[in-house]
Symmetry: C2
Subunit: 288 residues, 2 copies
């Protein structure tokens, strides 16, 4: 058993499963905006706190998994946020996918209180969270990485130290931009073929066994066949990540030309009533 007192904030689909995997190896403090999400964990022995600040007072490593920049800022900077209770020497480990800039800003605020920050976004989805097979990409000082790595091993399979604070988010955004483009490419191709009178089944055979193959193609084909576009990973989240990637490109003078083309197309899909569907619903764009 590792010896630090640890806490987990944000018990959504992903966070709940990740916290449970931590709880299997040591005690854990937990907080969530709505308490009912914590019920299973409390029943399993986790200690509930009524606010991020009180949880922070009682924890030496604080894991966070929330939706976006705004939610993260609130959890950290809010009246009863982490910053209001944090002790010197505490390490904040953020698993959310957010912008590198917000990461830098919050990391600096935590440093001013004598703590430190690691950004540690994940891939592998809810199945990876459940089975502790996540890939976790960590931006942190070497010492902080060493400190947190044993805990990350309890939640994931591939734990990578990819650079200084912010680089975890950078890699996540770059990777998600590629996913978004693959998703839109597969959707456009399948719809193009249907428009030309081809069978979905023939396209599946040719594309799945050829150079058009991708993870996102398989996902779309599966969703199309089941006609099921409940999220999964929502259009809102996909759009958020794509926008963050393009902003990062612009701020750093990188010519992400294809990504820049893609953003307004995906945005239009989001804004025509699909925000809460699965990301793969982009394939239905041509049906409207």
């Amino acid at each position: 058993m590792l010896s630090e007192r640890i806490g987990f904030i944000g018990l959504g689909i992903m966070g709940q499963k990740m916290a449970r995997n931590l709880l299997r190896h040591q005690p854990i403090n937990v907080y969530n905006r709505t308490k009912d999400r914590a019920a299973m964990l409390i029943q399993g022995g986790a200690t509930w706190y009524d606010s991020p600040s009180t949880l922070a007072q009682a924890s030496q490593i604080i894991f966070i998994m929330v939706t976006d920049d705004q939610a993260l800022r609130e959890v950290v900077l809010g009246d009863e946020g982490v910053l209001a209770g944090i002790q010197p020497g505490t390490l904040v480990v953020d698993h959310s996918t957010v912008s590198p800039q917000v990461t830098q800003e919050l990391a600096e605020r935590v440093r001013q209180r004598g703590g430190s920050w690691a950004d540690a976004p994940v891939t592998g989805g809810d199945i990876g969270a459940d089975q502790a097979t996540l890939t976790i990409m960590v931006g942190a000082d070497a010492r902080d990485f060493q400190r947190v790595e044993p805990y990350l091993q309890q939640m994931g399979k591939r734990i990578l130290h990819v650079g200084a604070v912010g680089q975890g988010q950078t890699l996540k955004l770059v990777s998600n931009m590629v996913s978004a483009l693959n998703l839109m490419a597969a959707a456009e191709g399948l719809q193009f073929g249907l428009h030309q009178g081809l069978d979905l089944k023939d396209m599946e055979t040719v594309m799945s066994f050829g150079s058009a193959q991708s993870y996102e193609l398989s996902k779309i084909l599966d969703r199309l066949k089941r006609d099921d576009f409940t999220p999964g990973f929502s259009v809102a989240n996909r759009l958020k990540d794509l926008r963050l990637a393009i902003e990062m490109a612009q701020q750093n003078q990188f010519s992400a030309d294809l990504g820049r083309c893609a953003l307004p197309l995906y945005q239009k899909h989001a804004e025509t009533g699909h925000m809460d569907l699965d990301e793969s619903s982009y394939v239905k764009r041509w049906d409207d």
Copy 2:
């Protein structure tokens, strides 16, 4: 042994291997613009003809595998082309990747001589051609498909009848458009990450095991690591196919928005001295 007299025109990297697989099961007539490419086949028992027209006179099924629209038109319509020698009842089977319009035009010309046409483009590359594991997508009348299928089985693993004449090419172009977009997405993402100071190895781990995974990503990573951009599938061919797909979209009022964005980007890469490199050299675009 099947009983029809068969011929093969176009003995490039792909055609040579496909013809050899046919020759394993029955005699075959062969023609190529340069005779030395036919040496191995002739040594193996194939019968050489000095022109497409003389080969056509001696063949009941004529397989063709050439580079593009222009080469195909020459082989079929040229002074000593297939059309000059074709017999009534002959089936022309075109494995080249060309436009659906040229396909329709040549099919009509062959029909006027009492013959018929099947477009049968392939995927699986030179390895698939060598090991007879190609996927072959056939646009043809049902009767013509039945007639040629046993021969296609000698060259491929998945033989699909995808529709009437032209539909094989349609599927190939759609599938290749998706490949092109995946290729450009992976290239843009990897270069973006490098630009932001990430390690290629970390990106490979995250992207290969996550939702950014694609056939083209793997190909680019392999080429980058070996720093080897000898074709393979050339930039010229990739550009040709992407252009044909976008032309097809425009002619059929399909909004291939992402593909339309991609075309000038890839074209610029081609026109800045990379035409004869492998398609994956697009990843070097940002180095210039």
